[in-house]
Subunit: 173 residues, 2 copies
């Protein structure tokens, strides 16, 4: 094992479509060409994420979240996932935010990866059943539009790490 993988320290990477693809989608205008709408008065960037919802009475639900900032480096002791639905967060301010996800390894979260948004108003969609940390603004409170699943059934699984991880912004490790 390399020394890096032995540590409990993770450095965030810039959020890109390719790097995030295994965890879900980046919701941004940078990756698709717009379609004109409303007689040319608007440009639509279409179908930016698959908001998968499954199970009894499944429906997509919209809400708002006001999230307090976390001190950095982030101490990460808990991740969660939603077996029945994807989850979308789009910030209502131009500030970046931190995203932590983990690959699944036999039903448990593997080594975390962290991302930081690189463009104003970039959002993300966690694919259904993807391990992820809590909504993590830093510096100041940030508000978000959230879209996720409504309906019957158990849609939350949590995992608490025996030892916490430390997540750094790039250049601050």
């Amino acid at each position: 094992m390399s020394p890096v993988s032995e540590t409990r320290s993770v450095t965030a990477e810039p959020l890109t479509d390719a790097a995030f693809a295994q965890f879900g989608s980046v919701i941004d205008t940078a990756s698709v060409a717009p379609r004109p709408m409303n007689d040319g008065m608007a440009r639509r960037f279409h179908d930016l994420a698959a908001i998968e919802v499954v199970g009894e009475g499944a429906r997509a639900m919209i809400g708002r979240v006001e999230a307090e900032p976390y001190p950095l480096p982030l101490r990460l002791s808990l991740v969660e996932r939603h077996p029945l639905g994807a989850q979308v967060f789009v910030p209502l301010s131009a500030a970046p935010f931190l995203i932590v996800v983990c690959p699944d390894e036999g039903g448990r979260p593997g080594r975390p990866r962290a991302f930081v948004t690189t463009r104003p108003f970039q959002g993300i969609c966690y694919a259904r059943n993807t391990w992820h940390g809590v909504l993590t603004p830093f510096g100041a409170r940030q508000d978000f539009v959230v879209i996720d699943r409504g309906g019957a059934g158990a849609n939350l699984e949590e995992h608490r790490f025996a030892q916490p991880w430390t997540v750094h912004l790039p250049g601050t490790a």
Copy 2:
């Protein structure tokens, strides 16, 4: 008939839950009490609109729209509706925007009503099959998160008024 109803002029009203209820929902934090989440680090305003999607392969879809501003008073000659799905718009800036909707009268749009948002980042959900005008920022370009229906089927009906309407902001008629 009152003189007002004989004119082709409409003055926008402040957007409120009650006034907009017959056309859909206001998406805002003002009308519901938040639930704590993430160990008290965030407040969630839950399930703010019914994003109804029906028909073959129906799913909720997320996109972004960049909309150019319209000159006011607005000249309104076209409204549309979506028989298979609701449509959500949440602005990514604090500026107000104008919303035009019409009650249905036997399959055709009745007299338009107009609303102007009253709080930063207020969004709206047009209920499925509700007549509405195009996305109408004024003053400056405004970007929006849009959620609407993906899937097979004809999901657009347009109505062009024989004579256009004129829509004023409050206090400018």
